[in-house]
Amino acid sequence: MDLLNALVAFLNYVFVPGVAYGSQLALGALGVTLVYGILRFSNFAHGDTMAMGAMATVLMTWLFQSWGLTLGPLPTALLALPFGIAFAIGLLLFTDRAVYKFYRVKKAKPVILVIVSLGVTFIYNGVTRFIIGADDQSFFDGQRFIISARDFKAMTGLDEGLSFKTTQAITIVTAIIVVIALFWFLNKTRAGKSMRAYSDNEDLALLSGINPERVVMITWMIVATLATIAGVLYGLDKSFKPFTYFQLLLPIFASAIVGGLGNPIGAIAGGFVIAFSEVTITYAWKKILVYLMPENLEPSGLVQLLSTDYKFAVSFVILLIVLLFKPTGLFKGQSV
């Protein structure tokens, strides 16, 4: 019984949140890795692209809610998501035309584009706050739990409850669908293959008659879609606050680099590595250890390695370790 309780507590506090957070990071890291692979720079504006896409979705959700339009048990945000994606696509294509294209035509070196993207970050950041404000915004509605802790306890008779939030289920399901669709697109379709060809060798892609501007356009559209989905899922699961997206940039880049920048499979694996490291290191293990250890060996402290306030330190340390010892990442990426 103690073992079961320990297992349920582990699932409830570590595994399920870890998988949900990992899916969000993976979606974010996929966007970063695509820009790195195809447009050849680290896009620091990715976090704020997520914020912008999520903001548009939040505004549309509020509009639908004011009309009384809902999806029943599912959050209305899912209905607003396509509009958010459309907005993000428009925004990124406009930014590309207005900013990045200038440097691309001149074949500016990647480091220049990295700094350019930092400038774009600040503008997005300001615009988001200007429109929706810097505070927390709530836009979740519908049914909160698929299984609540209380129901689970009543069902199983265990002391520990396992709660499974609707948002966690949506996050995981959406992430799986998006990842499958993306891989199918990159490996099976003509447009996807042309993106890989362009990533591999720009000049030869040109000699094969692949239109570089079209590849860039498709890339930005996919990146906008991924960023908005990741941003909305994170916002639904936690809460929408513009600044958190800027902070998310660190774990997202850590995920992409751990997996190997430019490698989509690596981005997904990296997302889960970072998410689980963060959750396991900042979780107070006392609850689980109490079930597992003999009474006289029970820990007196919380057995929490690091306070949750320092969760970003985890990504940062992992990032440093990877860059020092295995700069190409777990899967063979293109960096270094």
Binding site: K109, P110, V111, A197, S199, D203, L206, L207, S208, V336
Partner: protein
Amino acid sequence: MSDPYGDRGNKDVSIGNPKGMGSEIPQRKGKSHPAPGGPFLIGDGMTAGYGNGPDILHDCTIAVDRGEIAVIVGPNGAGKSTGMKAVFGMLDMRKGHVRLDGEDITDLSPQDRVAKGMGFVPQTSNIFTSMTVEENLEMGAFIRTDDFSDTMAQVYDLFPILKDKRNQAAGELSGGQRQQVAVGRALMTQPKVLMLDEPTAGVSPIVMDELFDRIIEVARTGIPILMVEQNARQALEIADKGYVLVQGANAYTGTGKELLADPEVRKSFLGG
């Protein structure tokens, strides 16, 4: 001269991905217009250079006619590859014209030239290393909307080894096999003219002979071939027309046999 968009002094490759990055190609949005007469493909009186840099080609002319193999030879730095790139529109043309099949294509972008029927195999980075052999060929046929499976079968007939390796990443192949992939990729568009920049660079003599045989085979199907070659003697032997370039200008022009017999050419470029 400082380059405001370069990365002088930057040694950090963890935030950027310069691998596979393209070169600066002049933006062209022009159209072709008829210019009848002359050889099938000709770069006529080309004066050209990279970006804002100095002229590399000086009034240089290279041409190839139907059913011919034309070979460009010359010492290192003579502008052989540059001449090919200029014909393909990857350089800033300051003077001169490029004509293909009775049309002036000087103002066309490289993509539009591919659509007009030009196939180009560059000297280096001429395959997609991370993609399979078959995907490389598919990318070659990118501009084709019709069924290209019979063209692919023809390429596999020409280079049987590629058929065995079709699901292998092209970057894992040997030098000779890579060159076959590169030529195969260019053939996938069913080009009206094929331009090869040192197709035998870095391969062993045996493989070189085989590649030459294949190139002659392609030429026999009626595709004119314009080729840059380091192995001047061997290349001139199979050439209908030869160009010797020195410092970006035409030094000697003639049939392959004439050039091989010319004592000046022999002394300067063929080692006596």
